[in-house]
Each structure stands twice: as C-alpha cells, then as structure tokens.
C-alpha cells in the first residue's frame, strides 16, 4: 500500500500527464480530471485490490472500477498506465486516430482496465450496480467502485440506480462523486439547483461519507470507513469535495476548463506548477 508522500508524488505526475495529453490532442477534459486526480490516485495505488497482470474484463477475483463520468479519460488513462495496465508511452496517442485511448472509455479496442463503455452521462452507476450484484450472486467478496460527477447527477438514471442499489442491499458498491460544483455551462447550483447531495443520498438509503477530495488523509479515511460499512446492507456514497482544475492555477475553480485544451504556452506554464516525479511519457 502506497503511503501519503508517495501518493502525492504520483498525483503530481498524473496531473502533468493530464495536461500534456489534452494539449497533445488539442481536445479533452482537463477540469474534472484534475479535480478527481487525488481520489483516483488513492483508489488505484492504495485502496483497491487489483492486479493489472491478472486483469480480465469480468473482474473475477478483483475489485472493479468503473468511470461513469466518461469524459474524465485523461485522469483515467494516466492512472491505468501508471498503475501498469498498459505502457505509459501509449498516453501520447490519447484521442488520436487508431488509438486504444478513445475520447471516452471504450471496450472496442480492448484497452486493459476498462470494463464498460461510458460517457453518455448517468449510466455508469447502473452498470456498477449490476457488477456489484453479479459479485454477490457469485458470492465474491470484492468491491465495485464507480466515479460520478456532480453535474452528471442531474441525470434521472443516477437516482434510479440509487434506489435500486439500496433496495438490493449492494453493500459491496462504493460510489464516489467528484463534487467540484462545476459543469460545462457554469456552477452546478446555477444550472440545476442540485442542492444537498448528502441529504439526498441519505434519503435514498445509502451510507454517505463527505470528505476532502484533495487531502489524502481525508480520502483514505473515507475509503476505510466505506470498506468497514460492508455488511451494513447499504451501498456507500463518498461525496468528495473538490476543486475543478485543481493543481493548475489558471484552471482552478472555474468551469472554463471543463472541456478545453490549453495552448502550448499554457501547458508549459502548468508544467512549472507540477513537479515531474515519475518521468514524463
């Protein structure tokens, strides 16, 4: 299990990867990728029981992760590569013709680590509930993790899945919301008035944990609590308070970088703010 100092080093490199990938493709979604970087780093390098060498799409004998907010591929692919699912050098092909690193997660080209296509928002939580139910039917002890966005949670299907997972007692399902408060058209509260997610998920019968999604101590404690809730008969929702664009000064706290690529100059500026720790691809 990776300690906090090491997690911080990994997350710095992942943030560099994100900016370089999106700059290289001149398209992609840096904002939400940067806000969920610390959560994803903790998940893959400390929390999840997984072995890239033995990975199969059916997830047998392993914990499974599913990205519901499919546009966050920059962070997802960087994490998968850094964790050993495929060569780090492949990150250079992000969003390029013929690449396994499609704009949104795809199983079409069999990229190791990806279990389901996603990107049409609101659908991943349902698939994750199905994975969790499958593991229960197989009497498997592993957990299923799924990452959603707060903007994404405007989709009705999220709440259909919320009702389903609670009703079927899927306590092997740990969902996370990247609660960065931003979406393409502006702040979530201005767009939809989504309101108190904590109260909403509690009302849906879930165990709810609120944590600081940029403080590894808080993140790890939240996951430890979520794991200890297994046996409670309830699924877990961790609401991670985060900042969109975290780690790059000119991107932080705004919706402007939800789905926009930086220029070469802006990329270079970002690089001065993020330490190269594991070596760029």
């Amino acid at each position: 299990m990776t300690n906090i100092a090491e997690l911080q080093r990994i997350s710095s490199q992942v943030r560099r990867d994100i900016i370089r990938m999106v700059t290289g493709a001149q398209s992609g979604h840096p904002g939400g990728s940067l806000s969920s970087t610390d959560i994803m780093t903790a998940l893959y390098f400390n929390v999840m029981k997984h072995d890239p060498e033995k990975w199969t799409r059916d997830g047998k004998g392993q914990d499974i992760f599913l990205l519901s907010a499919g546009h966050m591929t920059p962070v997802y692919y960087s994490i998968l590569a850094r964790a050993g699912y495929f060569p780090v050098s492949e990150l250079a092909t992000f969003r390029k013709f013929g690449s396994r690193l499609q704009g949104h997660p795809s199983i079409e080209k069999s990229l190791p680590g990806v279990v389901q296509a996603s990107g049409s928002l609101g659908q991943g939580l349902s698939a994750a509930a199905g994975l969790a139910l499958g593991k229960k039917l197989d009497k498997e002890d592993n957990s299923v993790y799924v990452l959603c966005g707060d903007g994404e949670s405007e989709e009705g299907e999220i709440w259909e899945a919320g009702m389903f997972a609670a009703h079927h007692g899927l306590d092997n399902l740990i969902a996370m919301t990247d609660w960065n408060g931003q979406q393409i058209d502006g702040p979530v509260e201005k767009i939809s008035g989504e309101g108190d997610l904590e109260a909403k998920w509690k009302a849906f019968g879930w165990n709810v944990i609120v944590a600081d999604g940029h403080d590894f101590d808080s993140i790890l404690k939240a996951f430890a609590k979520a794991k200890s809730d297994k046996g409670s008969g309830k699924p877990v929702m961790i609401l991670f308070k985060t900042v969109m664009g975290k780690g790059v000064s000119f991107m932080a706290g705004t919706n402007k970088w939800h789905g926009k690529a930086p220029s070469q100059e802006q990329c270079e500026e970002a690089m001065t703010q993020l330490e190269e720790t594991l070596g760029d691809y």
Partner: protein, 317 residues
C-alpha cells in the same frame, strides 16, 4: 401446398416464459430482470424456480439495462424484459452505449410488440422497434412467429454470445411450428415452396401469410412462404435464391415501413435481384385502441391484404 395446423392458440410471450425457464434450468448464468412487468412477461415460473436469479428493477427501465450490462460483464446471461416500446425507444441510448457498443451479452426481452398490444393504444404499441434495434451495429434481432418458435428462440438466445433483441407479442395466436425444432439464429425458414411469388413474413404475419397462400393456391397461384425469424443478420442467401426463382416479392410485418423488414429485404434485392416488391406493413402511422383483430384488419395487416399484394406484384412481373 404444405398443410399447417394450429395446435391451439397461445401467446408468444408464454413461449418466452417457457423458454426462459428451460434456459434457466440448463444454464446457471441465466438471470431475468424486469421493470415491474413480471406477470406480463411470463417470468413467474422462472422467478419461482430461481428466486435469487430473478431481479425486480421497479419502473426504471434505463437502470435495468445498465444493471443487465453489469451482470453480463460478470459472466451472467441477463434477459431484461418489458413492453417493446419501453425496452427500445425509452432506453435506446442505454442499449446503444452499454449493450451494443459495450458488447455485453444482454438479451432484450421485448413483449407486447406491434399493434396487437391492442386496447392500451398507441402510447404502448411500438411499430418502430425493429428499426431502432436493427440500426445498432452487432445487435441480433429475432422476431419469432408463434409459441413454439419463441420458446426455441429464447433458448437459442441464451446459448448465443452477444447482444440479442428478442421480439414477441401479447395476444393468443395460432401455434403451428414443430414443438421440438431447435431455433437457428440467422436462418430463414421456408414454410412452403412455390414458384409464382415469394411472401417473406415475420412474427405474427407468418400465420397470415400461410392463410394467404392457401387462398392463393385455390386461384392457381403458387406462393413460396418464408419465415424471416431472424431479421438481423438476414439470411441473404435464402432471400436472394427465392426472389431469383419467383421474380415477385411480398414483404409482410407488424411494423412500420421505416427501417422494417420491407426496407431491409428490398434493399438487399435492389443490389442483387431487382424484382417487383409489394409491402404489407403499418406504413407511417401510429396505432390506436382496439382489439388485436380489429387493428390488424384496420391497418392492413392480415391475410386478405397479403393476397391483394401478391396479386398486384404478380401483375408487375
């Protein structure tokens, strides 16, 4: 012509229920999901035999498709069922992303398809579902014609690895295909050999086509009847061979023109055997309230309309 006998009217959805139970006994991976329509989908026997493998999803079809995709990834063989409209039009995007593009082994169990749903009216009668499902790359589309064939097709769907759209209906209709015949996905079944005209039919229209053929025979017209039980992939060889022989084609389906079997077969023939074609379908309309028999007649979906179409097309040879 070959004689077909109705061994007693049965609904095709009960054929699905019986097939599901048998597939469940044979394959422990088979699971069934429904969105509050267990009874309508005839899943009761399966649910009683395998309570832990029956998953009630409540009235939330979008979630049901996603859950089915997740179960399929873990190795299960999920049959997700509801009324045809609600497992196609309502959840087209979920099926596109998580079943077809996601390449998951999900079987969409689509009951009450077409206008024969009857009294509930047009909100519940889909005449567009084949078009939607056909459009999805990698989706297999099966539309069996009676109880026996639906039961066999359900078992075949469980044995086939990949997304399947299995379409069946609500009303009791003649049961006339052999009870013990194994269903072959992708095969068109020749029910009567003829030389003057080919009638391609699918689903409930196959029996109507057989009735039409008997009447045509009395007028000296020898009709070839082909049951297109699998719409996708289409058995092109059988279609082309028959059209080459008879040089006149009628295509009958309980579905609208757009994207249906008529367009599919005529599109296939246009590039190979360009012969005259007449269509028997719902054209470009919504349905309405009525009994199945009233509606089939009113929308031109019966033997009488097939006979007229056959006579028209023969004149165009």
């Amino acid at each position: 012509m070959k004689k077909y006998t109705d061994t007693g009217k049965k609904d095709t959805r009960s054929g699905f229920g019986a097939g599901l139970l048998e597939a469940g006994k044979k394959y422990p991976g088979v699971v069934a999901l429904t969105a509050d329509l267990k009874g309508s989908l005839k899943m009761n026997d399966f649910a009683e035999a395998f309570p832990e493998r029956f998953i009630q999803c409540g009235i939330a079809e979008a979630n049901m498709i996603g859950v089915a995709s997740g179960l399929a990834i873990t190795g299960k063989i999920p049959f997700a069922g509801s009324f045809a409209e609600f497992v196609t039009g309502r959840v087209y995007d979920q099926i596109r992303q998580e079943v077809a593009y996601g390449k998951t082994n999900v079987k969409i169990a689509s009951s009450h398809a077409g206008i024969t749903l009857g009294e509930d009216g047009a909100t519940h009668q889909t005449m567009e579902d084949i078009a939607l499902m056909r459009a999805l790359p990698g989706m297999t589309v099966i539309n069996p014609c009676d109880y026996n064939q639906t039961k066999a097709a359900t078992i075949a769907a469980a044995e086939y690895c990949g997304p399947v759209y299995l379409r069946f209906g609500r009303p009791s209709v003649p049961n006339f295909t052999p009870e013990d015949r194994i269903f072959e996905i992708g095969k068109a079944y020749i029910f009567n050999e003829g030389k003057d005209v080919t009638i391609f039919a699918t689903g409930h229209m196959v029996w109507e086509a057989l009735q039409a053929a008997e009447a045509l025979e009395k007028n000296g017209i020898n009709a070839e009847i082909i049951d297109i039980a699998t719409i996708k992939p289409l058995d092109k060889d059988t279609v082309i061979t028959s059209a080459s022989k008879t040089r006149a084609v009628v295509i009958a389906e309980e579905h609208n023109m757009a994207g249906g079997l008529g367009e599919l077969i005529s599109g296939t023939l246009a590039g190979t055997v360009p012969v005259p074609v007449e269509f028997v379908n719902g054209e470009d309309r919504f349905g309405q309230t009525g009994t199945p028999a009233e509606l089939m007649q009113a929308y031109g979906l019966d033997a009488a309309h097939i006979i007229k179409a056959a006579e028209r097309v023969i004149k165009r040879k």
